[in-house]
Structure formats: C-alpha cells, structure tokens
C-alpha cells in the first residue's frame, strides 16, 4: 500500500516539542530542498533565506527561554507566499514588471497571521502577472514548471504555490483564487488546494484582481495541513470590510486517523455530481479519474447522485465580464506615480501611457481593455449589469442544489496540465479551462481540490487529476472532512512527482 498523505505540520510540531529537530534545522533543510529544486521548477520569484533563518533562530530562542508550549500552531513550518500577497520588507511584484522592486511596508493579514502562528516565510511564489492566467506563464520573471513533467505548466495563476508544494520546496503555501487559481494548479500539480468562502479570509494585502471574487487560501500536501493553514488565516479582519464576522470553527475537528474510520465513514452524506461538468469537453483521462473518485465516495458510504445546474454555462462569460471590469479599476493604481516602475516621459499623459504599456503584459492589458469597455457608458447595462444578474442566478442555483446535497463535486479542471506554451497564445482556450471552478467564485462558496488519480501520458508519465468538492457557504469544515476521508482511503490517488520524491529526503 502506498504511503498515505499525512500532516507534515503535525510532524514538525512533534519534532519541535520533543526537541528532535530545531526550527533552524527544519528551515535550513527546506531551504536547501527549495534551492535544489529551484533551477528546474522555478516556483519562486524571490527567496527569503535570511529572514527565514532569522525567524527560525528567534523561534529556537523562544523554545529555549519559554519552552515549546509557547509555540504557535505553525511553529517552524516553512511556507511559501504567492507574490500577489504583500509581505512587509520582502519584494512583492504580483509577477508583474510594473511592481519590480516594490517592497511593501505592510503584511497581508493572512501573512501576518501565519507569521504570528510561528510560520516561516521562505519566499514568494511565482504566478501569472496579477493572477491573470491559468499557466503561470504570464509572469514577467519566469515560467514555473510542473514537477510531474517539467515540459508542462503547473497551472495558474497560483502555479508557483502549487509546484513548490509538489516539489517539496516548502510545506505549504498561500495562493489566491479568483476563478480557480488555487484549485486548478492544485489539480495540475497533485496537491490539495482550498478556496474558502468569500469573506472567510481577509483580502487585506492581497493585490486585487476581481475584488468581489478574490479569495486567499492554502495549498498543501494533504487536507489536514490545508485545514491547519485555513484555521490560522480565517476570521474577521478590521482592515477588510468584506471579511465575515462568522465565527471560525475548528476545521481539524473530526480529521481522524484512517485506522479509526468507521467502515462506511461517509454514511449519510449526500453528494451531487454536477452533470454539466462531466462528459463532453472533458478529457477522457479526467472523466475516468472522476468516475472512479465518485465511485470511491459511494464506496465510503456517501449517497452520490447527479444534479443538473443548467445555468453553469452562463457563468463563464459573466465571470469574465465581472472579473475584468473590476480588474480594469483595480489596476489603475499602477501608474508609476507613487511606487513601482515609472517610465518617465514628456508629460503626465505620456508617463502614464509608457509606464503601463511597458509595465503591464499583454494578458493584463487585454483584461483591462475588456473591463474598461464593459464599464463604459452605453455598455454598462449590456455587460456589467447583465453579468451581475447572471451571477445572481448562478448563485441561487448553486445554493438551491446545496439544500439537497451536503456537497457538490466536479473535476477541478477539464484537462491535465498543458504543455508549456500550449494555451499561452490562445486566450479563449485558456479561459475555457476555468469552466469547472468559476461558478464557485461567482457564488462565493468554499471548494477544495484534492488529488483523485492520474492520467497516463503518451510518454508514460503520470499526470495528476484533482477532485473538486464544493460546500455550503462558511461550511469549509464539511468539505474538509469529506476530502480527508477520501484522501486517507484513496490509495489510487497517492503519489509524488518522480523527480521530487519527498520520501527520499525526509
């Protein structure tokens, strides 16, 4: 039987408390793994070795003076942060040229909470510039490779965050998800990605793309580690007026060890397969893996039925209108006046034009232009307003389905990881890849993507496939428990990338 995924965070906490390993040893171990994999995978835009080691030494000092009981739940856990999240004193670029050299004075609230819990920030993960993309190829700095096949993309936009976890460069990472940017790369890279309910995690310090859709969430090697990160970053934040006052439950509650599972641990759970997400338009490998995953859920005792969400198809265009409209506004601040790169020109108008022409890439400019168009006088009603109406319908339909079911499932993406360059120049093809995930953002619901199997490539390589489990608003606990049971029992979904087998170095 293959090694079932177990919590690395728990192991680190045990080691620290039993004084088996020091924070510094753990951090240095991960930093060397990070550096070893980096030339091939290129997950990081910047690596913060010095500040990471300093933070680890400070932790060790605290253990020495106050004992291990004083430690936070993420003590000495090496973490990567998507470069769309602000980190005080650490360059934050959103993978865009226009923010090259920009060092914030403020931490994103999610980052601040990780640090407060003892987490060690080892670096900033690559992504598509301003989180606009599904391959991480639109980064101004580098193209991250998929650890399962270096000729393929890790997905996006949180591609660096997913690849870093898959390659064992750190224990877990933060990503951001506007239309699937956590779940799709998790699917491509065979890791767990959790998009919380909108408002569950503060957006303060997250470089905004589509403000009404953006969510910060964790990527990790197993469900429990993702839950531990969510536990730390969730909850009301005074700095984000859209963050929720909902109390944060213990997301790790009920995450039992597999030995203690009942024979049918999902007995009584009603799970709905979204009919519109399977079959046509989905690759045979993904379809097969998904079928097997659904069967597995049934084997675990869940009642699995198909459910139709007829408006699913309307979500994609509505999503792009809303996301691009908001993006066109959110990106106005990158004008070269107060920070970031400025291309000085003859007058203010020219300075704006040149700065933005050179600082923003083609995909970003495409979205700004389309969003600007959608918000323009005379078009607003036909585009933005209409899209909001569609959003409401999609929302209502999903909420209604979740009255009948404890969770909805779908593949996390219609295909496995693309070859590098495959969809880069075909935006429509790339946008279509978001079909499985965007409605969840429109509805503001929580969803988790976790490894569910593999597709055998022509070259004999295995490419991971993710199962998406969608839950009720603010009920992350439910999908976390279902995902945990699935993960701990689905031996067919287990595995690590051949090149970066974590068991070798652990």
């Amino acid at each position: 039987m293959p090694i079932i995924r177990t919590s690395i965070i728990r192991r680190i906490q045990q080691d620290l408390r039993s004084r088996t390993r020091s924070a510094q040893e753990i951090t240095e171990d991960y930093l060397s793994r990070l550096q070893a994999a980096e030339p091939e995978v290129q997950s990081f835009i910047s690596v913060a070795s010095e500040s990471a080691c300093a933070a680890a030494r400070a932790l060790d000092g605290r253990i020495a003076s106050d004992g291990a009981d004083s430690l936070g739940p993420l003590a000495a856990v090496p973490l990567g942060i998507k470069d769309t999240l602000c980190t005080a004193g650490l360059q934050t670029t959103a993978a865009s040229r226009v923010l090259e050299g920009y060092t914030p004075s403020h931490d994103a609230t999610s980052v601040a909470r990780l640090k407060a819990a003892g987490g060690i920030i080892v670096g900033k993960c690559n992504c598509d510039a301003f989180a606009m993309g599904s391959t991480s190829e639109s980064s101004a700095y580098k193209a991250t490779r998929n650890p399962w096949d270096l000729e393929r993309v890790p997905g996006g936009s949180s591609g660096g965050s997913a690849a870093a976890v898959a390659a064992g460069q750190c224990v877990a990472t933060l990503g951001s998800d506007t239309g699937g940017s956590i779940r799709q790369p998790a699917h491509f890279c065979g890791v767990v990605g959790l998009k919380p309910t909108y408002g569950r995690v503060s957006r303060y310090g997250l470089i905004a793309y589509g403000s009404s859709l953006d969510c910060v969430g964790p990527l990790a090697g197993c469900v429990e580690d993702a839950a531990l990160l969510l536990q730390t970053i969730a909850g009301r934040d005074q700095l984000d007026a859209t963050s929720s006052h909902m109390p944060v439950p213990d997301f790790t509650q009920g995450l039992e060890e597999v030995e203690r599972f009942a024979s049918r641990p999902l007995e009584g759970k009603r799970i709905g397969i979204i009919r519109e997400t399977i079959g046509e338009g989905v690759s045979p490998g993904v379809n097969a893996a998904f079928d097997r995953a659904a069967q597995h859920l049934a084997t675990l005792g869940a009642e699995v039925h198909e459910v139709s969400l007829p408006t699913s198809g309307a979500g994609l265009p509505a999503y792009y209108v809303i996301a691009m409209s908001e993006a066109s506004s959110n990106l106005s601040r990158y004008d070269g006046i107060r920070y970031g790169v400025r291309q000085e020109a003859a007058n203010i108008r020219e300075t704006y034009n040149t700065t933005r022409q050179e600082g923003l890439n083609a995909e970003v400019k495409r979205r700004i232009l389309m969003g600007t168009y959608a918000l323009s006088a005379g078009y607003y009603d036909a585009y933005y307003k209409r899209a909001q109406q569609v959003r409401t319908i999609v929302q209502q339909e999903m909420h209604k389905a979740l009255l009948d079911f404890d969770a909805l499932i779908s593949p996390a993406a219609p295909t496995t990881a693309y070859k590098l360059g495959h969809v880069k120049d075909d935006p429509l093809e790339m946008y279509k890849g978001d079909i499985m995930t965007i409605n969840v953002n429109l509805a503001g619901l929580p969803a988790i993507s976790l490894p569910a199997g593999f597709e055998e490539g022509a070259d004999g390589r295995r490419l991971p496939i993710g199962l998406q489990i969608i839950g009720k608003a603010f009920d992350e606990g439910e999908i976390i428990r279902i995902a945990h049971v699935f993960e701990q029992t689905a031996d067919f979904a287990c595995g690590t990338p051949p090149t970066f087998d974590k068991s070798k170095s652990q």
Binding site: Y204, I207, A241, D335, I348, Y384
Partner: protein, 515 residues
C-alpha cells in the same frame, strides 16, 4: 474659525442681478450649485490617518496612498456627519445606500478612482431656506447629499496647472479626507440668490459642527452651473460650469458676469457659442474664462465599490443623530427674533456660529438680550474684526461681558464708563468679577445714598462761602456744587442720586440759614 475669512454677510449682499436683455425679449438665468464640503472628522474616511493639517505627506499610510492590496474601511464618523447634514437639509435618509468608484487618472488620485456614491446617495430630496438681500426668504431644493473622499493636492512649478508645468509635486495629506457633496436643484435665478443659498448652506454646515467651513482653505468648494433661457420657456439652455470662486461675493459677481455673457450671446444670435464647458472665475477682472471647452462628456465608468459593503442606516441611528443635533441657523434666528431683536442684528449674530455661541453664552449668564446684542455687535465685534480674533478665541469670557451689561442695565455703571472698561476686559482683565475689578480701578458708580451724602457734606463744608451765597439766593451755584462732587468722586457718583442728595442738603442749609 477665523470670522474674517468668511464671506460677505447676507444682509450686506449687493443688489439683485441685472439680467441684461432688450425690452422685447426677457431672459431668465437658471442656476444650480454643487458644493463639496470637507468634513471635520478626526480621521480620514477610509483609513485611520488623521485628517487635520500637517507637514506635507505625513498624514499618509499604505491605504490612502493606494498601495497594492490595501482596502478601504469606512469610519463611522463620516456616516453620522452625512446623516446630520441630510437631516439639517430636510432630506430623506436612504436606509440602504452604497459606494461606487468614479474612475479617472490624475496624479492626485492615488487609486485611479475616487470612492463616491453614484446612484444611491445617502440623502435625497431636501430643501434649504435662505434669506435674500431684499429681506424675503426663498426655498431652494436639495437634490442629494452623498459621501466621498477627497484627492491630494498638486503643486506646480513653472505653470499654474499640471499640463505645462516644469514639475509638479503631490501632497497626499488630503487624499482620503471625507467630503460631502451637496447638489442643489437648479432653483436660483441670480447671483444674489446663489450667494444667499451658498452662504446659508455654509452657515448650516458650520452650525451643525460638520466642517470648519474656511473657504480660503478649500473646506467648501462650489461649482456653479449657469444657463439662460427666454423667460417663460421650460426647456433649459446649455449649462456652463463655473469654478474657482473663493467667496460668496465672488460667486455672485462670477454668476452675474456669466449670465450677462450668455444673455449677450443669445441676444446677438450667437446662442450656439454657449457651449457645455468649465469656466474659471478670474477675481482680478471679475470675468469667467474657458478652462476646458467642447470636451466630450467624461466617462467615469462608475460601478459599485466591491471593497465596501452597502451602507445600511437604521431608524435607531437616525434617532441617535437627530437627538444629538445642534441648532440650525434658522432655529437660532427665530429664537432671537422671539426676543424682539431687530432682524438686522439677528442676521449678523447668526452669520457665524461663534457669534451666536458667544451671544448665547452672554444671555445664559443673565444679560438682557437687547443691551447684550448692542455690545456684542458693537465694540466686541469691532475688536474681533480689527484684531482678527475669532469670537471663540476672545479673552473676555461671555460671563464677563454679561456682568458688565447687567451692571449698566442696573445703572451701576454708565454706558460711558462701560466703554472705558471694555477694552481692559477684552484684554482679559476682570476675570475675577467685573465689579470688583472696577472697584479696584475705582471705576464703579457710587449709588449708595449715604456715601453720596457724605461726599456732598464734605463739598459743602469745604465751600462755606459759596454755600452762604447760595443760601442768600444765588441758586445758580448748584451747578458748581455738582461739579465739585463729581471732581471729588472722579465722576463716579450716580448723577441722579447726586442731584437728590444735593437738593436735600442745600434745602436743609437754606432752611437753617433762614431760621
């Protein structure tokens, strides 16, 4: 607040606008006013930076500088002040309103958009009554009041605007400071009416404690829309926006100029030359000139601000605001009129909040209204003007003035002595009581009969010769004795009582002499 920075008073406004037109065709001006009011909240609207004045670029943070990833969070003070303004302007208060983004690029606008309110303003459908120069009052409709944030301040080198300057600097201290925008109905017909509305709006906002209201510091900025049409026509003419008026008198002149400019064009068959544009008022020539002309309508691409939840106002909140609202200038005016004060006095006393505050405190300390008004509007006002000291910064406490006024009213002090004492009181003397101060300075009037009789006795005994002459029939000498008593008392004896005492003593002496 410095009262001297305020604009001309209502009651002193110039003659009504002259709408020049040939006798056969009469034209009518239609004027509407948009006013931006800087609220005097402690912090900015959407971050915790202080909103007051400070060295350049020191009241700033990542949020109001529009740094990546930062988010606005509305401070509750803004909402309460917005509701207060709405109630003071007799508006309906929206139970549900929202913020929107108004988008344009400018270096003083950190985020590339201004957080404002577009289609669901906080307050709507109100009115304001203002006193016109001819003594009439007029109701002006208020279309809406909404909340928004201010931009930073640009300073240019080598030109007076961004285009053409050698370099420009931005001070972001003002960026994010809360503003209210009050939009009037197009209800004004002349510069005088516009000025009356604008000054009453300012007065109301100041009395409500919402703004410092200093025009010279841009606390209130007025954009005036002016159009003309033939009298009797219902269709509005092309409107021109006029900006850059730093006082209400300037506003009146600017509008009257703009009206006559437009009327002249209409009369000359050049009506098409009246174009939708923004014109700036030049104080030195009393004319308006075109700033931007024939520019296509700016498309601000308004859309709902996704970072801020909708603004919900409960009945409880409205009650709370209503309960703590201060008196409006109109209410203060009617209170003063009920005291039988003349309208001219009332208008001045209510022109600036510190005036009426001070006056109320003088009344509170027991002074009779009419006499108190005379003193406040007379020597105290003059002192404030000459020395540029606002009424809320006067050294003389209202209670001190009240004591003096009461003493005069009771006849303890003559008006003349009062005028002598006042400058000292205005310097801060007499804080421990006006009477003891005057006694100490030997300025208080002697009204004690026995004390007066003593002085009279002294004078008579020191002037036996004149007394004998008086008794012999030379009664003209009474004036001499009065003079002597006054001299002896340094003029402090109550004249009426002096005459009584002197008559009595002289009568006694005469009777004694004949006996």
């Amino acid at each position: 607040m410095d009262s001297n920075t305020s604009a001309s008073r209502l009651c002193c406004s110039a003659a009504p606008a002259s709408v020049a037109a040939p006798p056969e065709v009469a034209y009518e001006a239609v004027i509407g006013i948009e006013c931006h009011i800087q609220l005097n909240t402690r912090t900015k609207a959407f971050c915790s930076c202080l909103a007051g004045s400070a060295p350049v670029n020191t009241n700033v943070c990542p949020i109001c500088l529009g740094h990546p990833g930062t988010l606005p969070v509305m401070s509750t003070g803004v909402l309460k002040k917005g509701i207060t303004a709405g109630l003071a302007l007799n508006c309906s208060i929206a139970r549900l309103s929202k913020f929107d983004r108004k988008q344009y690029f400018y270096p003083d606008l950190p985020k590339g958009y201004q957080i404002s309110q577009f289609d669901l303003p906080l307050c709507y459908e109100g009115s304001l009554e203002a006193q016109l120069p001819d003594g009439q009052t007029k109701h002006f409709g208020i279309t809406r009041v909404h909340m928004e944030e201010d931009a930073g301040k640009l300073m240019h080198d080598g030109a007076n605007q961004l285009s053409g300057s050698d370099s420009s600097l931005v001070d972001y201290n003002r960026a994010g400071v809360p503003l209210l925008e009050v939009v009037s109905e197009p209800d004004m017909r002349s510069g005088a009416e516009a000025a009356a509305y604008a000054s009453e709006l300012r007065r109301t906002m100041c009395f409500m404690g919402l703004t410092e209201g200093i025009m010279a510091q841009g606390h209130m900025r007025f954009d005036v829309n002016v159009s003309v049409r033939r009298e009797g026509e219902s269709k509005l003419g092309t409107k021109v926006e006029v900006k850059n008026m730093n006082s209400f008198a300037a506003m009146q002149r600017a509008i009257d100029f703009e009206i006559s400019r437009q009327v002249a064009l209409h009369r000359d068959g050049q009506a098409h030359e009246v174009v939708q544009e923004t014109r700036l008022y030049d104080e030195s020539t009393s004319q308006t000139f075109s700033m931007r002309s024939k520019e296509g309508l700016a498309d601000y691409r308004y859309f709902p601000e996704p970072d801020l939840p909708p603004v919900r106002v409960t009945d409880e909140l409205i009650d709370e605001v209503q309960g703590s609202m201060q008196e409006s200038p109109a209410a203060v005016r009617s209170r003063y009129l009920d005291m039988d004060l003349p309208i001219a006095d009332v208008l001045i006393l209510t022109d600036e909040k510190p005036f009426s505050r001070y006056f109320d405190a003088v009344l509170e300390a027991g002074a009779p209204p009419k006499l108190a008004a005379n003193w406040v509007l007379g020597d105290v006002m003059a002192h404030s003007k000459v020395n540029q000291i606002s009424f809320d910064k006067l050294e003389m406490a209202p209670a001190t003035l009240a004591e003096l006024v009461c003493a005069i009213d009771e006849g303890l002090v003559s008006g003349k002595i009062g005028k002598q004492v006042l400058p000292m009181l205005l310097q801060g003397e007499g804080k421990n009581g006006v009477k003891s101060f005057m006694e100490q300075k030997r300025l208080i009037q002697i009204s004690d009969m026995s004390a007066i009789e003593d002085i009279v006795n002294d004078v008579l005994s020191q002037n036996q010769q004149q007394l004998q002459q008086y008794c012999a029939g030379k009664t003209k000498l009474q004036g001499f004795f009065v003079g002597q008593v006054m001299k002896a008392s340094k003029g402090l004896v109550n004249p009426k009582l002096l005459n009584q005492a002197l008559n009595k003593k002289l009568k006694e002496a005469s009777e004694a002499a004949t006996a």
